[in-house]
Subunit: 380 residues, 2 copies
């Protein structure tokens, strides 16, 4: 990215101040500068060669000056002069982040939205051949938490071919893909013809699957419609309208378990997970696999009231995006953010067959970044 011209440098022992022609002012702590000198990076891999414990604990700037497109820094206590590219410093000063996919767009009132109109769609042929369209689609997938493919060949395993273009398929004890259709005596009620309330998959797993794909090989002629809701929007709504309930849900671990042939999976996590700075980082909700809460009897009334309030939000029709996936459609969604469910259908009268798989979180972001770099001519 280009940066405007730097116009002035001011050095104090612990602080470098840089002014740019667009009015941006950057303040850089001496220890931060000392930690990020280009000469302490491996020229080939770009990896840092030093450890913070290798640095002087209190590096003092002696003087600094503009030298072409770099800032030149003389240190008081070391016989070295360091140069840092001004365009690189500008990125930090301006808070620039060339990652539009990190700009999350939450959507609360799902019922006012149309899957066809308001979310990103990409046809199978474009997925294969049109990198610009794929970059745009992946960016919106990551922003909205949900996007769709159409015309995915209705053959066994086509979902894996599709997902290997978007990210990396995560293998679990279910294998690389799983079939969703009604069977007798299912080990998991997903494999029945029951309606399923909004949920996220596999909260009993560690790690929880990052993304989930569901490919419609055969739609039921009626019933089996899909529901989606943005769990981050719902959690944000709860935080605004019932902060005490939100805090309880975020602070209380909930046990989840799945027992089946060849697996006994158990994990504890809160229904709403916060990042280390208090931002909503994940939601986990699956009424089928929640185990008995390990709470003192005296804490149950308050926790259950909060838990019920969240569950009731999930049932409010205004928050639900309802859509019907036709043959060849594929829904891909963030499985720690976007809840999914379905209406029931009559399996005795009609078959219905979906294939599903999970995709690792980082791989989707990685492929998006690589696509963008390739479009920008910055990568092969």
């Amino acid at each position: 990215m280009s940066a405007p011209a730097a116009t002035a440098l001011t050095a104090q022992p612990a602080l470098l101040t840089v002014r740019w022609s667009d009015g941006t002012v950057g303040e850089f702590a001496s220890i931060w500068l000392r930690d990020n000198l280009p000469e302490d990076r491996d020229p080939h891999s770009g990896q840092r060669l030093i450890d913070v414990a290798d640095l002087p604990s209190n590096p003092r700037i002696g003087s600094a000056s503009l030298q072409g497109d770099c800032a030149s820094i003389r240190w008081q206590d070391e016989p070295r002069t360091s140069t840092l590219p001004l365009a690189w410093l500008y990125e930090f000063a301006a808070g620039r982040r060339d990652r539009p996919e990190l700009q999350r767009r939450i959507w609360l009132d799902g019922a006012t939205l149309s899957a066809q109109r308001d979310f990103a769609w990409l046809a199978w042929a474009q997925l294969q051949a049109d990198e610009a369209a794929r970059l745009s689609w992946q960016t919106r997938l990551l922003q909205d938490g949900l996007a769709f493919l159409r015309d995915v060949p209705r053959v066994d395993g086509a979902i894996l071919e599709a997902m290997n273009l978007v990210g990396q398929v995560a293998e679990t004890n279910y294998g690389r893909l799983f079939d969703v259709r009604a069977v007798e005596q299912p080990e998991n009620l997903a494999f029945s013809d029951r309606g399923l309330g909004l949920h996220l998959d596999n909260p009993y797993r560690e790690p929880v699957p990052g993304f989930q794909a569901l490919h419609t090989l055969l739609a039921a002629p009626d019933g089996g419609d899909s529901l989606f809701a943005d769990g981050f929007a719902l959690a944000t709504h709860l935080r605004e309208t019932a902060p005490a309930a939100f805090d309880l849900l975020a602070r209380t671990p909930v046990p989840f378990r799945y027992q089946g042939t060849g697996a006994d999976l158990y994990a504890e996590r809160p229904l709403i997970e916060l990042s280390c700075t208090g931002e909503i980082a994940a939601v986990a909700y699956n009424n089928r696999s929640i185990q008995p809460l390990r709470l003192p009897a005296g804490d149950c009334a308050a926790y259950y009231a909060a838990y019920r309030r969240f569950a009731e939000l999930l049932r409010e029709p205004r928050f639900q995006l309802a859509t019907r996936l036709e043959n060849g459609d594929l829904a891909l969604f963030d499985n720690q953010r976007v809840l999914h469910g379905r209406s029931g259908y009559a399996s005795a009268r009609h078959a219905r067959h979906l294939q599903g798989c999970y995709v690792t979180r980082d791989s989707v972001y990685s492929k998006t970044a690589l696509l963008r770099q390739r479009r920008q001519g910055r990568a092969p």
Copy 2:
């Protein structure tokens, strides 16, 4: 598990109290009981058929009585009588958890320990054929965060065969396994002959690999020794000796990145990650992939002081378990807890060749639980 006899039941509208002959007293909130009725579970899969929003918000117990090995509950506002097994209630009342692998044992003074003497070892033949030994070994692996195999065949991919018995191998952009040996111009300095300070692998990944295995195909005759330290013990030590530094590390996200052929991986996470109840849940430390911190200049001095303090702990010899992995040895460790490193070696004089892979966290716990159930005759 067997339970002593229940001797008395006392019912109030919102609380059932049960006394057992060993003195255990269990208090169960009415909403908790109502949420956990056996009749609301699918008899085949065991999955819960109801949602918390289906429950009465304030279920009141009318009366309760001992009925053989069950507690029988009449509800005030519903025409139903429910029965709950007393042995099942006892497990909650007594806080029983039949999962010894969850009893973590942290070890701070690694230098006083011997890998051979103080950690679990299992020979290849036992891994294949001795389920009792395998259960014991896996349990200690999960308790200590580190365990070893010996006599693993020195052939390409034997590590995968071994790890498929212990858990499930996680495929990444590196593939299912990676080779650790010195190459020219490595994309990752792990693939050089440099010494590597204590670190955890791939903090730039989401999810971070749960476990890491390293199999010695060819040890260097000198150098290339292995170091390990228990990050949970170090973080606990920091929390006790420098609580403000600990809090800063736990509350500040750090950017990590890896750019290589076919991958651009980026994640932000704190160096010390806490669970929703404030317990140490993960550590992330890798000086090679830490990116410039996005901190206001005024916050740098305090953060860097805490960061340095943690980095200095990692360098203290007293905390480091040093060992030498011989040909055929395999180290398996929790990659979000146990840091690993190596001394440098002279690749020009001696080859050294390890193969590594990652194993998903849940799969190791799942296989451990299944092994235990099989030993106890509770699973096929």
